[in-house]
Symmetry: C2
Subunit: 208 residues, 2 copies
DNA sequence: GTCTATACAACGATAGAC
DNA sequence: GTCTATCGTTGTATAGAC
């Protein structure tokens, strides 16, 4: 507990104005951006509300005011590095036997756009937090199964989707989070040639 | 590495003795065992030094004394929930064309032994902690590459190892951490039949 | 004037260090 | 064992938009 209210040891470089800000500024958006950055750098537990508020240049209490707590802010900030549904829709048209190649190529392209850091964050968040795990579970079940597989494969779409998801999840994790060589530095062509046949088997091949 | 299995007592209900312990007992080993249990149950951040010390029946200060801090204890404790090297060695003898089946079968057996919870926390620790990520990186590079692949496949052992690792990592994560159905509840035979051909291709098949 | 976004202070909890 | 730092959260007074 702190009782030293008399002395003023605190010196902030920039005096923050109290009360409502002038019309232009938007605390909510600033918090979301800061949250994405800080969660990306430190993970869920490592990121503190105070860090995020600092980065956004606002008071920590704003997190509660706008989002209702750290966890809710996390969920709001986890607003997808790229829209997976859109990516899959793009890959669907064309030869079904080469669907896997198109999917992997597009995913690698999107993942590498930010140097993989944004994806790494998402994966770490998913791994370390129940809420994020639930989000991914829902995504795999809904988008992957009913959007892709029902269009190309008749039998066991759920099993195919989870198998395909496990391969892509593992690939993403090893490449962008764990950064194991040589996979971390391999070019897209190599990865596509290596992984596409396996993914294709999960999607449309013969399963037990 | 194996530390001597000196009579390590279970913690439950044992009254805490004071002063120097009799010759046979080993605080270091007790802490390591306690650390494995607690890290497995709560993850890295969720596990506290006090919990571990409590479980080991020793003072928290012993963690600093013997290991120099929580992180160092973690590294020391993460010396295998089940020995992957041994598992791979067991799977090596036999028809090389069915190596993947044997590996997956054995891994599933070990993973499921604890209901998957121990594996789940290990994976989460790997995902959320730099140290653990480094450990896995080293494991994939050293054990997988030089122990398995050099015995069965001549070309690109590192790439094969990382690809195989990504598939098994993804499978483990989706099944035990994310618990996505139907993969989470699928029986071993189904998973083996589904995944083994893909893993086999990474291990010994034709690669670009 | 009313409403609300804001800043500041402090709380109880807890974990790691000494 | 004790101490200290810091966490997420809450209460409250205030400044500015409407």
């Amino acid at each position: 507990m702190k009782e030293e209210a008399a002395g003023v040891p605190e010196e902030s470089g920039a005096p923050r104005r109290r009360g409502r800000r002038p019309g232009g500024s938007d605390t909510r958006v600033a918090l979301l951006e800061a949250a994405r950055t800080v969660f990306a750098e430190r993970g869920y537990d490592g990121a503190t509300v105070r860090m995020i508020a600092d980065r956004a240049g606002v008071d920590p209490a704003m997190v509660n005011h706008w989002f209702g707590g750290k966890e809710k802010l996390f969920v709001a900030a986890l607003d997808l590095p790229a829209d997976p549904g859109a990516i899959l829709s793009e890959a669907l048209p064309g030869d079904p036997d080469h669907l896997a190649e198109r999917v992997i190529a597009r995913l690698l392209q999107v993942w590498d756009e930010t140097g993989g850091t944004q994806l790494a964050t998402l994966l770490q968040s998913i791994a370390s937090h129940e809420v994020a795990a639930g989000l991914l579970r829902e995504f795999i079940g809904r988008v992957l199964v009913h959007k892709v597989l029902s269009a190309v494969a008749p039998d066991r779409p759920e099993l195919r989707a989870t198998l395909a998801g496990s391969q892509m999840f593992g690939l993403a994790f090893v490449r962008y989070v764990l950064k194991v060589e040589p996979l971390a530095s391999a070019d897209h062509a190599t990865i596509i040639a290596a992984v596409a046949p396996n993914l294709q088997r999960y999607l449309t091949g013969r399963l037990p």
